[in-house]
Point group: C2
Chain length 219, copies 2
């Protein structure tokens, strides 16, 4: 994580702040689209569900100087966040597992706007191989290793069933991938020099369920 | 959040622990399936990517008594976690927005095993209305309010584009829903007595991107 970005002076951010950055970015871009040049802290707080104190803290951490009575210059804030996230550079990715979740991700437009370009999918289902899903060609899994090497792909997105996930991760690692975004339900074992980020719908469901249980107790 | 569960003595857990519970549950269930009755702390730590100290802390918070030299009784741990999450009760849900992400969620089997049963989908696309996706019938959005009320549905899952999300949330709230699981990119405004949980792929991508940026700097 770089400490200084060209358009800001971002400190090293902690995970919860990093997770909030896309929400800030989304709102800042909308405000810019609506013709605004500046946003005040108060206006930003009103747009968000986060606690005001959290937003104020995040703004300090982002290190973007505001102007008295004007607020923050939207263009500066947007590029500072994009630089920090690296969303102004593009990583090319392969997606492995063209099931329903994989297909959704192949068609998820915000990824490409945010520096992640899925260039192809892989599957073992002969009915899917050779077809295009959301404009992305599906190749047989047997071609994965060769194509990662030949095309210098840096990112693998794993959306296969959990039983297959470790095997796919092993192929990716052996082929020279840098990072794995893992949507399978299993914790993958990867060497320490590989970025492996586990995404889990179950964690989201767990938080939602606990909140719902509390609500149920009140009724 | 209940402080005591029938099969354990769970304290009030913090968000990061709650988010880890599905991973514990997944591994405990697998170990049970493989014919084990007990699991030791060390064995559990080996199965997980979490820091050992974190696992030990979580186990204390879960409040399940272990047996010396035997470890934890799998059945007790599994039901304690399921009780805590409320995953042994089932909430019926409607999903609104049968696009690619919505379709993936309609077909996501773990939800049903984990107490969330999606009973129908809603959309405005005439080509989708009346069809079945992963065995779930798609109804016109205009029927949403009436059907929430008539069927006493408690949970709404929002997978519409962000421009439509607040309107859908308003319909759900007005119809008497208790909880909204929001997959659109926008922060929804809902009354304080409604559970509203925002799921964001962008947060996951942000964390992954920052990790990848660090990796890129090392190369």
């Amino acid at each position: 994580m770089s400490e200084v970005t060209p358009n800001g002076n971002m400190k090293i951010l902690k995970l919860p702040t990093i997770k909030r950055l896309p929400t800030y970015l989304h709102i800042l871009k909308r405000l810019e689209k609506e013709g605004n040049e500046y946003v005040s802290t108060t206006a930003l707080i009103n747009e968000l569900d986060f606690k005001p104190i959290l937003v104020r803290k995040d703004l300090v951490l982002m290190g973007i100087p505001g102007k008295p009575r004007m607020g923050y210059f939207l263009k500066d804030m947007i590029s500072a966040i994009e630089n920090y996230l690296g969303w102004n550079k593009t990583d090319e990715a392969f997606l492995i597992g063209a099931g329903s979740l994989g297909q959704a991700l192949l068609g998820h437009k915000p990824f490409e706007e945010n520096g992640l370009k899925i260039v192809a999918g892989f599957d073992i289902d002969p009915k899917k191989i050779g077809t295009e899903i959301h404009g992305k060609r599906i190749f047989p899994l047997s071609k994965l290793s060769e194509m990662v090497k030949r095309m210098g792909i840096r990112v693998g997105i794993i959306t296969v069933p959990w039983q297959e996930a470790q095997d796919v991760a092993d192929i990716l690692v052996e082929s020279g991938i840098w990072g794995i975004w893992n949507f399978s339900m299993v914790e993958l074992k990867t060497p320490p020099d590989i970025v492996c980020h586990n995404e889990s719908l179950s964690s989201g469901l767990a938080v939602f369920s606990v909140k719902m249980g509390k609500m149920r107790d009140q009724h």
